[in-house]
Each structure stands twice: as C-alpha cells, then as structure tokens.
Amino acid sequence: MKLLNWGIGILTVILIYLVMFVVPPAKGMGEAVRIVFFHVPMAWLAVVAFFMNAYWGAMYLKAKDMRKDYLSGKSAQLGMVFVLLACASGAVFSKLTWGAYWNWDPRQTTILVLILIYGAYLTLRSAINDEQKRARITAVYSLFSCLTVPFLVFIIPRLYFSLHPSPLINSGGSVDMEPVMLMTLLLGVLDATLLYVRLLLGGKNE
C-alpha cells in the first residue's frame, strides 16, 4: 500500500509537469487542451467504476460476502465523484472550444445517463437500513441497469449529433494525436486507475 501511495504521488507530479510544460497547445483548441488530460482519465474511471460496481455486485450475490458489497458500494461512490469531475471538466472544455457548456453530444448524453444511474443507485443504497438486504437489492439494481448499456451505446450516437473529438484511435485505425500527447494521456489514465484502486482498497473496512 505504501508503495502504491508513492507510485501515485510520483506519477502525478510527473503528469502535472508534462501537462503544464511539455504538451504543446493543440491546433484549434489552444491552451484549453490541457483540460483533456484531466477529463479523459476521469471519464475512463467513471465507466470502469460503473462496471466494477456491477461486477462486485454479482460477486456479492454469488458469495454473500459483505466485503464484496463494500467494494461495490465504494466503486459507485468513487464513480459518482469521477463522473461529476468528468462532466464538469468536459463542460468547461466544451465552453472554451465550442461556446456552450452543454450541447447534447452523445458522450455528454452518456455521461448524464451514468450520473442518473449512479444517483439512483446511491439513493437506493441510502434508503435501505438492513445491511444484507441493501447489499442484495442494490446488487440486483446495479446488474439490471447494466443491461441497458448496450442499447444506449447503439441508440445514443444515432439520436444525438456529435462534436466530440473522436476517441484515441479514429475510424481509419490510425492514431490521430502527437506521440507526446498520447503518452501523457495514457500515463494519466494509468495514474487515475491506480488512484481508483488505492481509494477502493484503502477504506476502513479492510
């Protein structure tokens, strides 16, 4: 755990240095591009935490082990924080580059759905006193809400027009980004993932 703390600390310092001083301003986006290195890892974690929430939920139903429920609930809490940070940073970036905080881009829409699911999950969690029942009921909800994800992935891009920069690898299969930016971004994702693991495992219920 100590090693992990140090690793995250050092990685974060390197990242801040890279983002602030090394990465060049991107064409058409200017200095605002630096937000991307915060935004993308947060959005990535929001999605990871969502699936981990469901995964630990399924594990709870299988083993009826309260530790699994703890991990599931914690993932949702962290996911809620990440998704809000991703949403806020995305909105700022959107305002600076496209002129509006919110424009119903497919990814923004997806993030709103994630906020709603996390919100509903955490509300349900807070509304059940009995620990075992809470673990069971919330796990079922978390798994059931996962069922809608494939539908949304299929529907949303067809209903909402996109301005969002394409993902790392665009449809041509080539990487549409300068190597130093890509490296920094991947490093950011790694750092954020380690942070998630640290926060997940570092609770008092260990």
């Binding site: 139903l61 759905v113 709603l116 699911i117 919100g119 509903a120 509300t123 349900l124 807070s126 509304a127 059940i128 006193n129 029942k133 069971r136 009921i137 796990a139 079922v140 909800y141 798994l143 059931f144 809400s145 069922l147 809608t148 539908f151 949304l152 299929f154 529907i155 949303i156 209903l159």
Partner: protein, 220 residues
C-alpha cells in the same frame, strides 16, 4: 412441471385482474392521472400546435409519468395490504414475477391505448399509420412492464416512500423512452418510419424480461 408453472403464472395474473376489477379505484386513479397530465400539457400550451418531434416528446413524457404512477403499486400495494407475506410463503418467485409482469403489460398497454386518442385529439396530431402507432405504444408499455416489475420489487425494500420508483426507473427505461419518442415522431410526420428501431424496442422487452427473471430469484 412446465404446465404447473404456467398454471401458477396464470393464477397470479387472474388474481391481479380480479383485484383490479373489484377495486376500481387504482385503475381510475391511474387513468385520471394520465388524463390530468395530458390536460395539463394542453392548458399550458394554450392551443399552440407543436411540430411533430415536440408532440412525440411530450406525449411520451406524459405516458412515462402515467406509467410510473401506475407501475409502482405492483408490489407496494401488496406490502401495504400485508399480502406480500402470504405470497412469499405460498408462491415461488418466478410465478409471481411473470404473473405480475403479464398483468402489468396488459394494464399499461390498455392505459396507453386509452390515453393516446385523447392526446391526439387535444394536440391535433396526424398519425400516418395507426397500426404501427399501436405497436409502438404496446411495445413501449411492455418494456415498462418488464423492467418496471423488477424495479418495483426493489423499490419496496427502500424506506424512502414512493418517489424512488421513478428515480430507479428512468435510467433503466431510457432506451425505450428515446426509441419510442423517435418512432412516434416519425409516425407524426418527422421522417420515414424505421422498422429496426421498433425491433430494438421489442428486443429490449425480451432482454429486460429475461434479465428480470434471472435476477428476481435474488430479490424474492
């Protein structure tokens, strides 16, 4: 075994129908709720005619909240009446789930088909193809029924009262809501009807019913 379980599903279904027919207040409350929402929208618009997309959106918002107010009682009423214990002691989860789901699907479909003409009349909509419109309505109602039955069973565990059902439902039912709005707007003249989206709604109905069935054993 197979015939016995379908028998039990029908027993639950018949029980729901009998109770609903003998205590008309729940049905009437639901119907009047829908009428009120539609009337509310019509009053607020003060006679303005909307474009097809807006009409479809408002129609489904009205229908969604009507479904939410109708659907949440499916388990909550049993808890309130104390009958849930008898059902749990004597019944098995799958019969109860499928029986209630079937009843809910019929109930919400009837509700949708009754309320739609009212909306069409007040809002002056043109529907290209009434048969397809009815299909969209029923497919949407079944989607709400299939996921709503499971979610209603979860929401009765929460001690925070009634509102939580709608909170839990929206993210889950969002695909059906979005697709139904799209399909309805197409039927109201905003583009060609795209059959594959109706297929997607029906696919959702099937997937959520099966998913609910698998997960319900952990709830019961």
């Amino acid at each position: 075994m197979k015939s016995s379980s379908s028998n039990k599903i029908m027993q639950i279904f018949q029980k729901e129908i009998k109770c609903a027919l003998r205590n008309k207040s729940s049905f009437l409350t639901c119907l009047m709720f829908g009428v009120t929402v539609i009337a509310c929208v019509s009053f607020a618009l003060q006679g303005n005619v909307l474009e097809a997309k807006m009409q479809a959106s408002i129609f489904w918002i009205a229908l969604f909240f009507t479904f939410m107010s109708c659907g949440e009682g499916i388990f909550a009423d049993e808890v309130k009446a104390g009958t849930i214990l008898a059902l749990r002691i004597y019944g098995d989860g799958q019969s109860v789930l499928w029986g209630k789901m079937l009843y809910n699907a019929v109930f919400l479909s009837v509700m949708a088909v009754v309320l739609a003409p009212l909306y069409i009349m007040f809002m002056d909509c043109d529907i290209n193809n009434l048969f397809l419109f009815a299909l969209v309505l029923i497919a949407g109602a079944i989607g709400v029924a299939s996921s709503g039955t499971l979610v209603a069973s979860l929401s009765v565990s929460a001690n925070s009262g009634k509102g939580i059902f709608a909170i839990l439902m929206l993210p889950v039912i969002l695909p059906v809501l979005l697709l139904s709005v799209l399909l309805t707007s197409q039927l109201m003249g905003a583009g060609d009807f795209e059959m594959q989206y109706l297929g997607a709604v029906i696919f959702y109905d099937v997937i959520s019913a099966v998913g609910a069935s698998v997960l319900f054993d952990y709830v019961w």
